[in-house]
Amino acid sequence: MAHTHGDSEHHIIPLAVYLKVFAALIFLTVITVWVTRFDFGAFNAVVAFFIATVKASLVLGFFMHLKYDNMMNRVIFFSGVFFLILLYFFCYVDEATRIIEKSTL
């Protein structure tokens, strides 16, 4: 049989790792709230987005086992993210280069 499908090794992540990841997630949630006290101007959104992405990576890597999963599942996940960015990119290009009177609200 052509085992093109890699047999997964049924990796079991130790309990301690789960607990550490959870602690890190709670810590990062505190950071998320804490950074809103500072004004980074245009970078506020970037900072919030960056912290959220770190948290998301922890959930993906450990809770969702993607760190120990096969390459194909990682490719599948990241292709979803890539095409989402694509949707945003072109919408943004259009919106940012339109020559219209900007809202004066």
Binding site: M1, H5, G6, D7, S8, H10, I12, I13, L15, Y18, L19, V21, F22, L25, I26, T29, T32, V33, T36, D39, N44, A45, A48, F49, I51, A52, K55, A56, V59, L60, F62, F63, M64, D69, N70, M72, N73, I76, F77, S79, G80, V81, F83, L84, L87, Y88, C91, Y92, E95, A96, K102, S103, L105
Partner: protein
């Protein structure tokens, strides 16, 4: 709770082995998660798009969300993600009674999340902070409230309801997923009580777990977007 009885799982006829079936099912689940990401993604892109055109309405709108409730819900969901992961862990360890306890805690966390959400919703509905043309909030009261954070404000943008459209659509779709997730975990919990799942066969637990973590993942982004916009 009779977890003593163990049922053996026979893989479907078109697979060679249980591992083959497990790998394929997990891949199918990841493919499904991608569709979820892109579906929610449409709302995120819409948010970014309008945030770029009308940043004010998002700033003013977010003063009506209580970050403490949002943070509480974040912790609840993160904790439920931990218990879900532990549910899979104990299934892998063949300890079904601990695994079922973890699943039960996960469902409870989902319920707590929804209750907090309910209070948030009813508060906003009470103030008339509804989406689109259903918006009935008193303009003066909204201005007074927004002035607490933005003292220089003289006027409320006419399309402020758009923020609440995003708020309700995003949290609403997310909330529907939370409830579906709770239902699925309950189903797994029942089956485990009847002797299904164990160290050699936990595909269902893993799949539902992935779905639950995705719900958490989406909330991780929703929290700063809706509660902490500055």
């Amino acid at each position: 709770m009779s977890t003593a009885k163990t049922r053996t799982h026979h893989h479907a006829h078109h697979y060679e082995s249980a591992t083959h079936e497990y790998d394929t099912s997990k891949q199918g689940m990841w493919l499904f998660l991608v569709t979820e990401i892109l579906m929610f993604g449409g709302l995120f892109v819409g948010y970014a798009y309008f945030h770029h055109i009308f940043p004010e309405i998002f700033k003013i709108g977010s003063t009506f969300t209580d970050w403490r409730l949002g943070a509480a819900n974040t912790v609840v969901l993160l904790f439920s993600s931990l218990t879900m992961a532990l549910g899979i862990y104990y299934t892998q360890m063949n300890d079904r009674s601990k695994a079922r306890l973890m699943l039960l805690i996960t469902i409870l966390c989902g319920a707590v999340f929804m209750v907090i959400k309910y209070f948030e919703y009813s508060h906003k509905i009470h103030l008339g902070l509804m989406p689109g043309s259903w918006y009935t909030a008193d303009a003066q009261a909204v201005l007074e409230h927004a002035k607490e954070k933005f003292p220089g404000l003289t006027e409320i943008p006419s399309n402020l309801p758009l923020y609440f459209s995003f708020y309700y659509m995003m949290t609403g779709l997310h909330g529907i997923h939370v409830m579906i997730g709770m239902g699925l975990i309950f189903w797994i919990w029942l089956r485990m009580g009847r002797g299904w799942y164990g160290k050699d066969h936990y595909t269902g637990v893993e799949g539902v777990g992935l779905f639950w973590h995705l719900i958490d993942l989406i909330w991780i982004y929703l929290f700063p977007l809706l509660y902490l916009v500055t």
